[in-house]
Symmetry: C2
Subunit: 160 residues, 2 copies
Amino acid sequence: MREAERADWAAIWPFFREIVRAGETYAYEPDMSEEEARALWMVGPPGRTTVAEAADGAVAGTANMYANRPGRGSHVASASFMVDPRSWARGVGRALGEDMIAWARRVGFRAIQFNAVVETNERAVALWRSLGFDVVGTVPEAFNHPEHGYVGLHVMHRRL
Amino acid sequence: MREAERADWAAIWPFFREIVRAGETYAYEPDMSEEEARALWMVGPPGRTTVAEAADGAVAGTANMYANRPGRGSHVASASFMVDPRSWARGVGRALGEDMIAWARRVGFRAIQFNAVVETNERAVALWRSLGFDVVGTVPEAFNHPEHGYVGLHVMHRRL
């Protein structure tokens, strides 16, 4: 786990694009340009972008994190995560998540909120539950899944 | 009720600023400049900004509306509302809300989601319930209210 550097984007973009095009987990613009994607993902201070490295030093996953809202909502953090499908089931998501929770606590946030976890993304839902998140509510049919049709989006939350 | 024109901003800004500074209903940057506020509020197509006029033609309230998410979430609309405190309890919020629901249905959205309704804003919560919205979930302590301290933010939802 380490902070992302500008040069990491070249390694992130191929699996970022693959995950967005698959359309199973994020409600992003499907035809986002590389520049738009980079601007979206590589957030700087006061937010933070991280990468997880595989044993060979390759970028296996990435996360970004930030205040979920400005002003009177800025004590709640949020984050997004992407793991290279070639590194799934190797603990990369968990490592990124644990590091994000530690960061949010260190910076002084009071809680973490994920606004839109696709309910059919069982791997992610189980991971967040195991890291102390609860489903606060599920917006019905809020995500148009390419295989399952309209499925719910969980709002997940954890106190710090 | 009518579509907002650029010139309406001059009438919106005084009560927009007053409502944001009061800090009881929106998690916006408290020291937002007028230009930032205008860019935030006066959304153009494919979204829409409306104003409600009082009997004397003055702007009594305003709403804006848009897709809540891009891509695979773009079938769900969202909106924000502000009513001049001098026009409260005169049906302005209801008129803005009914018009927004009609717009969302007309444009082809499948549902409407409000992401962050402050739970102590009882007037708004009751209005949205009376217009068919349910509370899908409440994120605990997600809003730092100037009087009540940390209070919840409701996610509210209505099918179309």
